[in-house]
């Protein structure tokens, strides 16, 4: 399929998905009503719902879905393994641990209080809201904890890998960090002071875009832009890696530079996505798989379509969460995992057929 045709199709689906995402909710809107509400701003109650709740949720679904799928495509290209995803580097586990620690320690509340009094004392009280200093302190500090966790995980991976450019070493370091972060998250859960804190942690870990605001979008945006640019800088190297590391080096690429472009790009994307939305599985593996045939398996051409496809998939998963009737709110991460499993079974059956 021609690149522009694929972009046109994915772009149209994304536009449609985003529109549906904003229209669906407790009060359903027709596209005509949506245009009216959008034009009238957030002066009416419906305007507040659309502008302050549904729009940030829709934008965040696009950012998170695109981040996870693009990182998955980049890591699959880099490791030349179609089953690789960001979990392999320990980034998402690190981000989850960082965010969970914020819940556990109650750091977000005390930090918000401290910051609010500090800003007031220096006469900069108007900036309190920027840092979630008010009632929504968690909206700022939990994602910040997640980002810190992602970067600490990255730092440990860098230290473990050392100067080698060997890819299995990187994967092994990532898996070790991922296991450690998983174990520490379980420990935090185990030691959680009360059942409510435990439930809050579990609920966050399951992944969700409910009650997110523009604050999370603002937090995510710079990391998203930087991550996308960095991964796009690595696309030629990913194509060259199709012929192995030695040919890539002989074609003038620095394997070290390529590795850090991939690792840092993925950390920015997955770290910020996990920090604002919790753990969302399978998008990073499934989306590149689905789109690979349309780009003739080219790892360089797979990056941007994966970002668009990931955004579409997460928008629909988030729409599904809202549409599926359930007593308790169905979590986004649970839905993506449930939908992702049949995909793996289909892949398994296809593989079995090709070997018999």
């Amino acid at each position: 399929m021609k690149s522009w045709t694929l972009y046109l199709i994915l772009g149209s689906v994304l536009l449609l998905s985003a529109t549906v995402s904003v229209c669906i909710g407790t009060v359903n809107l027709t596209p005509g009503q949506l245009v009216q509400v959008l034009l009238s701003g957030d002066q009416t109650p419906l305007g507040v719902v659309v502008w302050q709740l549904r729009m940030p949720r829709m934008v965040l679904a696009i950012l998170v879905g695109a981040s996870l799928a693009m990182s998955g495509a980049a890591l699959q290209g880099y490791t030349r393994n179609p089953l690789a995803d960001a979990g392999l580097l320990g980034i998402s586990s690190g981000a989850a641990l960082g965010a969970v620690c914020m819940f556990y320690t109650g750091f977000s509340e005390s930090a918000s209080r401290f910051l609010a009094s500090f800003l007031n004392s220096i006469g900069c009280g108007q900036f309190i809201d920027w840092f979630g200093g008010g009632a929504g302190g968690e909206n700022f500090w939990v994602p910040m904890g997640g980002l810190a966790g992602a970067f600490i995980a990255l730092l440990i991976v860098i230290l473990l890998v050392g100067p080698t450019t060997n890819i299995p070493t990187l994967i092994l370091a990532g898996v070790a960090v991922s296991s450690l972060a998983g174990a520490l998250t379980a420990l935090v859960l185990n030691l959680s002071p009360n059942p409510y804190a435990g439930m809050q942690i579990i609920s966050w870990l399951l992944g969700s875009l409910t009650d997110r605001s523009w604050q999370e979008v603002q937090l995510c945006r710079p990391f998203f832009i930087a991550g996308v640019v960095i991964l796009m800088m690595a696309r030629r190297g990913l194509l060259a890696l199709s012929l192995g590391e030695e040919v890539t080096a002989s074609l003038g690429f620095s394997l070290k530079k390529l590795r850090w472009l991939i690792v840092i790009g993925c950390t920015l994307l997955v770290g910020s996505a996990t920090a604002v939305a919790g753990s969302i599985a399978f998008v990073g593996i499934v989306v590149p798989h689905l789109l690979r045939p349309f780009v003739k398996s080219d790892p360089a051409r797979l990056l941007m379509p994966s970002a668009l496809g990931g955004a579409c998939i997460l928008l629909w998963a988030d729409i599904g969460v809202r549409l599926i009737p359930a007593e308790q709110e169905l979590k986004l991460g649970v839905l993506t995992a449930l939908v992702g499993t049949p995909f793996f079974l289909a892949l398994l059956l296809k593989l079995r057929r090709s070997y018999t």
């Binding site: 890696l241 199709s242 030695e246 002989s250």
Partner: protein, 260 residues
């Protein structure tokens, strides 16, 4: 006297603490077709990878066009020499023309598409390697021989000053072995380019190479014209085999005969 295209002076190369290459010195002149022969484990691939710049010698120096190899920025070096590794692999089922395009990558500016010139070189290479008909097929649907030709076309598409190829004939039938050797020879004859090729087929080496380097235990056992290198004494020492000599219209060749 012309400056050698590539020169190795007194090379020592170690891998995992073991010295693989000792005291190897050789020169590759422009327009030369140089073969490296020797038994398994004699250090041919290690020497070639060092000449490419993938391994650093413990001692000694390699220079390309009179300039130390390490002084070239990687992207400039990639335009001047191409490497065709022994175990040709393509990890993704990408199309034949995309693989060949990889050979032009050092010439294509980042964020740009291949220029008209790049496209012309790729088209020429696909035609010369008889890959035009399969240019849109993915590499995983090709036979082993076809894949080898695609990878060779990729290395040639960069129009390098010097091509360093490690056993490129592996997996090719006699027709395509001769075709590839003729193509490489043409590349050398048409311009001041050079080819360094590691090979096991002594008869093809005798026929196509201008000079041969025979390695034994990581050192140069013999270097010179094929006639001077492929002697019974050298071959029995390097390979532990006997040979039969064949001559046809003045063209000399050797046939491996018995194990010693």
């Amino acid at each position: 006297m012309t400056t050698p295209l590539l020169e190795c002076s007194n090379l020592f190369v170690s891998l995992k603490g073991k010295t693989i290459i000792r005291e190897v010195s050789l020169k590759v002149q422009p327009g030369e077709f140089l073969g490296i022969v020797g038994a398994n484990g004699s250090g041919k691939t290690t020497l070639l990878r060092t000449m490419v710049g993938l391994l650093s010698p413990q001692r000694g120096e390699i220079s390309l066009m009179g300039k130390p190899l390490q002084d070239f920025p990687p992207e400039i070096l990639a335009r001047k020499r191409a490497y065709l590794p022994q175990s040709g692999e393509c990890h993704w089922p990408i199309t034949v023309e995309r693989v060949v395009e990889l050979g032009r990558l050092p010439f294509i500016e980042p964020w740009r598409k291949p220029s008209g010139q790049d496209q012309k070189v790729m088209d020429d290479m696909l035609r010369e390697c008889e890959l035009e008909e399969i240019r849109h097929r993915s590499v995983d649907t090709l036979s082993g021989g076809e894949q080898s030709r695609v990878l060779a076309a990729r290395a040639l598409a960069g129009q390098p000053e010097i091509l360093l190829a490690d056993e490129p004939l592996t997996g090719l039938d006699p027709y395509h072995q001769l075709q590839l050797m003729a193509l490489l020879k043409k590349m050398v004859l048409d311009s001041a380019r050079a080819v360094v090729i590691v090979m096991h087929d002594l008869s093809l080496a005798a026929r196509f190479c201008d000079r041969l380097v025979m390695l034994h235990g990581g050192t140069v056992l013999a270097i010179g014209a094929p006639d001077q290198v492929l002697t019974e004494e050298n071959i029995s020492k390097a390979y532990r085999i006997t040979i039969r000599r064949v001559e046809h219209h003045g063209q000399k060749s050797v046939v491996p005969w018995e194990c010693l």
